[in-house]
Amino acid sequence: MDSIVRINSKGQAAITDAMFFLMIASGLAVMVLFFATNYGSNVSQSLHTQFGSQFIDSALKTLFYSSVPRDLSEDVSKAVEVDYLLSYLKEDFADDLNLDLNTKKIMLERIKEIMKPMQDSFDYCFYAYCASTKCPEKYPLFILKLFDESTKKIRFFFCEPTSTDKVSYFFVNFRSLYRSSAFVRAPMLSRTLTSGFEVSWPRMEFALVMWIASGIPQNSLTELNCKEAT
C-alpha cells in the first residue's frame, strides 16, 4: 500500500510540474503576442502624422504661389494680367491694414479648392495674424471650415477673434493638429506730415491648420465672433 501511495505521488508531482510549465509557457506566449500587437504603433502613427504635415505644408505653399487675375471679374486663364496670391494679399493689406471682402472671398475659394481632397475627413482654418500694434485687427483674415454633425453639412465661416487666447482655446478642443505657418513682412503704408507716406514692414503670420473633423465645439463660433460665409 505504501509503495502504491508513493508511486501515485510521483505521478502527481510530474503532472504538477507539467502544469507549472504550461503556466510559464502560456505567460511567455502572451508576452510575445503583446509585443507583436504593439510593435510599430508609434512608427505607424508617426508616418501618418508625417503625411498630414506634408500635405498642409504643400497646401500653404501652393496657395501662395497660385495666380489671381488683377481684374477679379476675369477668369484667371483668360486674364490679361495676373499676380501671385501672396502679392495680391500684401497689396490689399498695405493701404488700410485690412483685407476687403473681395480678397476674403478669393482666399475662401482658393482654400476650398486646394483643401478639397481632405474636406470629407478634416476640418481646417486659415488665418492671418498681425502682431503690430498699428493693425486695427489682430486677425484681418480668419476662415474656418467645420463639419456640422447636426445638419451633416460642411460650413464655412469668416471669424474676427479679438485675442490670441481665444484662438488658442479653440484649438485645444482638437486632439492632433497639423499646422503650417509662413511669416511674411507685409508692407504697411502710413501717412506722415513731412514726406506724405512712409512704409513699414510689420511681421505677419499666415497659418493653415487642419484637424480630424469632430463637429463644432460648443460656444466656439460665438467666442471667435464667426459669421457664415455666403
Partner: protein, 178 residues
Amino acid sequence: MFAKLNFKRSIGITGFIGPIGEDLPSLIPIIFALVVFFAAFSSANQSFYSRSDLFSAQIEANKLIRQLRGESYIKSYADFMDRCNSITTKRTRFIAGLMDISSFELKYLQQRDDSIFYENRDGKFICTNAASNPADAFTEINNENLIINFFPIALEERYAKSGLIVKPMLLVVYVWTR
C-alpha cells in the same frame, strides 16, 4: 486473497503501462505548452517581419514622394519629367501624375488608368518606373503593399494673354514594392 494483493502490488510498482506510464499524463500539458508557445512565437515573428517590410516600404515611399514634390512648385512639363527620371530605386515601383484639383474626387484614386491625369500641349503629366508605357503601369500594381499619397502642388503654365499663370494641381503618387 494473496494473489489479489500480489496483483495490486504489481500494478502499483511500475504503473499501468510501464515505467513511462506514470509520466504519460504529464506529457500532455508539456506538449500543449510547447505547441502554444511556438505557435505564438511564429505568429509574432510573421507579424514583426510583415510590419517591418511595410514600414520600410512607407519610408522608401516618403523619400520618393519628397523628391517628386520638391518645393511644391513645378515649372514645366520638362521639370516634372526631370524629377521623375532622377528617382532611382531598386525594389520600389511608382506611378506619379498631376490631377486637376478643382475636379478631384477620392474615387478617382481607385480608377487605375491614366485618363484621370492632367494633360496640356506639352504632354500628359504622368511618369512611372514600372513600365515603359505609363498606361500599362497600372497593371503592375501590387495591391498588398500599395501606398497612395497626394499633395497640392503649383504648376506654372504659359498662357497667350497673361504670359504665365500658376495653377494649383494635385500630385498623386502610387508606390508599391515588387
